[in-house]
Symmetry: C2
Subunit: 352 residues, 2 copies
């Protein structure tokens, strides 16, 4: 209810989580503006906001050009800052690209926010990746930071920018350290977006699921509606009790169980294990699952959608809308970036 | 001895530590090339290399323009990477400047190194600042990272770039996490370079020393010759046993004792305490001193110069060369950056 008639700015609002958030905010009566330049490889898809196309304003600029939407920053009541590249593999192939998108652009955007909308609440989409290989499980907010790929380095830098400006009293930001999120509107047509995207794509194409290693690595997948609810609560909390929240799924589950469960829900399919490919092995973090007790205690948030339920809803969405996300007739694109000539910069990885 | 006839590239070689390192390397028989664009505020002073002016080559380009010295990268046997902005206060006033100098330029430089000189040993000047407020003392290399200013964020990002490229086998880097270093060739003419620079400047101008707070905060100042020795050992270690070394001074000492000791060595002078100014208070880390046991065990390095001895040598240097570092007749410059119109971007700090 608190979002009724509020001005909500969503960066990366054509992407996976951002678009789900936009739809929820419109339903809550907010006036939604999306800033999204649809950088190739970052998951933007105009079809994601089809249900609210008439109710949201879309500004097709990158966040590092805040002069193009200074009025929208100035009048915003809350900013949901989800613009970014999420692929760890992309970041290893194109570190400068990742730096520009995830660090440089964020600093330039926050400079504009502090000038144009001093004190504004900003909810930033950070990531569990900043913790690197867990030293203990479950991972809480006190866990040491130790990113093991360029994406983690830059997401950590941007997270710290939010915290520093907040310490200075210039903005009022909170960073959500998300675990693996899945659900409708994931960018199945973009390579290297993580195992959940890959599993869904293969299921929908009738291909076998492949789990790297022995498949016993734990994860705690979070359904996108639960992630959106966490963002909404962080956006309206007054006062904020913390500036960092770990946001995890309802329960740890192995990669093998995830594959088997998804396959079962999809109505059958092959699941097999295979040795780690080098690019993934170099930046694998082993098991990870989240201690979400802080956000539970302080914001009353709880993940409600269990994995089998969530993957069922996700498959139902894509079966209906598949043509908007995948062309089953064409081969799946290799992991490449058009603006880099489509060429993988690096061909081999050593083990970290 | 191992540096005889070796090609050593020093970025930031006109600065404080870089120039001392250049002089030592020339004495050891190395062929030294310096890359330094003399960015205002970063401590470059051509006079710093006066003793070896005829023996070193100076390339006046920033490290983010590696095409200007690609041959020198290609033929280097070892790279000492000291280019950067060290001022925490500057970084809070001009975060984008700090990002460009300390993170963006470093990534661009390392991209060139991995292409032009694959596997090259790079010794990087990192900083204790990445640890933030110590959770325990003394601080070893396992201490969690938690930078509390933009300088710390960007130095941490650049440190991690070095480690990631090394994990990939593309370079062979080692990061030296330095405590407060002092000695001849510090940039006394540049504001906001830390308390040791300020103390020296005030002593040389006959002004009273001011210690913020109660002066009981501990530090472990490191004499520059000891720091240089650590760089030299890290540059030649084969194989490297670690990629991160904390490098600290011989003993912890309070800020008040540092001021009193320096004043005594200088032949007298007033020492007084005063409340923290806001800009410094916002990024103060309390007490810090280093656990240097890893570098001691693995590289056989030990700091040899005690504080009273080091500050005496430092004062002797500046008394002889003062005109090259300070103009006693002109007022001391305010903390400002010419390229930003000389205007402090931010006037007030809240407390972190």
């Amino acid at each position: 209810m608190s979002y009724r008639n509020k001005n909500a700015l969503i960066t990366g609002g054509l992407g996976f989580i951002g678009s789900n958030l936009a739809i929820r905010l419109v339903a809550a009566g907010a006036r939604v503006t999306i800033v999204d330049s649809s950088v190739p490889g970052c998951g933007a898809n105009p079809y994601n906001i089809e249900p609210v196309r008439q109710q949201v304003k879309v500004i097709p600029h990158p966040i590092c050009e805040p002069a193009e939407f200074s009025d929208e920053i100035r009048t915003s009541d809350v900013i949901f800052n989800l613009a970014g590249e999420i692929s760890h593999v992309h970041s290893m192939d194109f570190p400068e690209r990742d730096m520009q998108i995830n660090a440089v652009a964020q600093l330039q955007f926050l400079e504009a926010c502090r000038n144009l909308a001093p004190g504004v609440r900003i909810v930033y989409a950070s990531t569990r990746q900043v913790y690197g290989v867990p030293r203990y499980l479950p991972v809480d907010e006190s866990h040491p930071v130790n990113p093991i790929d360029f994406n983690g380095v830059h997401k950590y830098a941007a997270t710290t920018y939010h915290l520093l400006y907040s310490s200075l009293g210039e903005i009022d930001a909170v960073a959500m350290r998300l675990t693996n999120v899945y659900g409708p509107r994931m960018a199945l047509n973009v390579p290297c977006q993580g195992f959940l995207s890959t599993f869904l794509r293969r299921l929908l194409r009738g291909e076998p699921l492949e789990v790297f290693g022995d498949g016993q690595q734990l994860r705690d997948p979070l359904y996108v509606d639960d992630a959106v609810e966490a963002f909404l609560r962080a956006g309206e909390a007054t006062p904020l009790l913390s500036r960092i929240y770990n946001v995890g799924g309802p329960a740890p589950i192995t990669l093998l169980e995830i594959a088997q469960s998804a396959s079962r829900v999809a109505g059958g399919g092959t699941v097999r294990t295979r040795p780690f490919p080098e690019p993934q092995k170099a930046i694998d973090i082993g098991s990870y699952y989240t201690d979400s007790s802080r956000i539970r205690a302080e914001l009353g948030w709880e993940p409600e959608v269990r994995f089998e339920e969530g993957i069922g809803r996700t498959l139902a969405y894509y079966r209906k809308e598949l043509v908007q996300y995948l062309d089953p007739a064409s081969p799946y694109p290799a992991c490449s970036m058009p603006e880099h000539g489509g060429v993988r910069r690096r061909l081999t990885f050593a083990t970290v």
